[in-house]
Amino acid sequence: MKVKIKQWNAVSVWQWDVPNDEVCGICRVPFDGVCPVCKYPGDDCPLIIGKCAHSFHLHCLLKWLETETSKGLCPMCRQPFETADDAQQQQQVEETQRLHHHHRRTSEV
């Protein structure tokens, strides 16, 4: 029997790379759902992951960080909130500086 495919629809699912049962600690909505101001999950309502490994909806966290009471701290652990990216970047900058420094030192000799 020969089958000829005339038409097909691609269907896919996605989810954020966080444990399934986790909710945003600020709005208490699952991470795969949206923050209270957004309509569509995904790129429109992204997550932010801190260096401290705590995640929130970006929009929820920003609302908190805008307040004076937040003092820039993570709502979970009260450490200064830094994104994992910031930390990585900082490391890269330090690495480059070290290399640069090393390079200068060797060229001076």
Binding site: I26, C27, R28, V29, T69
Partner: protein
Amino acid sequence: MSYQRRIMKELERLKTAPPNSHITLVEANDLETWQIDLEVNNDNPLYTGKTFRLQFIIGPNYPVESPQVQFMPLPARPIPIHPHIYSNGHICLDILGDEWTPVQTVASVCISLQSMLGSNDRDERPPDDERYIKHAPKNPKQTRFVYHDDTV
């Protein structure tokens, strides 16, 4: 009130599954003002056998901003005697002010208050009680409490 869904969830949970049997939601006619009965969950002689009434006012920016929380005097609902609780029901507790974070909930505040009472052995009001209640604002959040004593 953008966090309405979270507030509704909290209310539902407090109704159906409160953190312990000494925390009872009495009334929440709207999503804004909640009345909760609180008892200690240990045998602290200062408070056993007594029930206290807490009032939470959930503002439009909750949970980014802390709720307004105080004890309410009612017949059979005294204001607990505690060195951080004023006789008008205002409470000097850091997590209700400077140390608030939005991962806290009405239930977690109740638990904190329960342990604040449960661990207290001083049968006294704050030293500045008389002066404070004379001029206290209606909303305790407008008071700049100084959290000077962490031993209680």
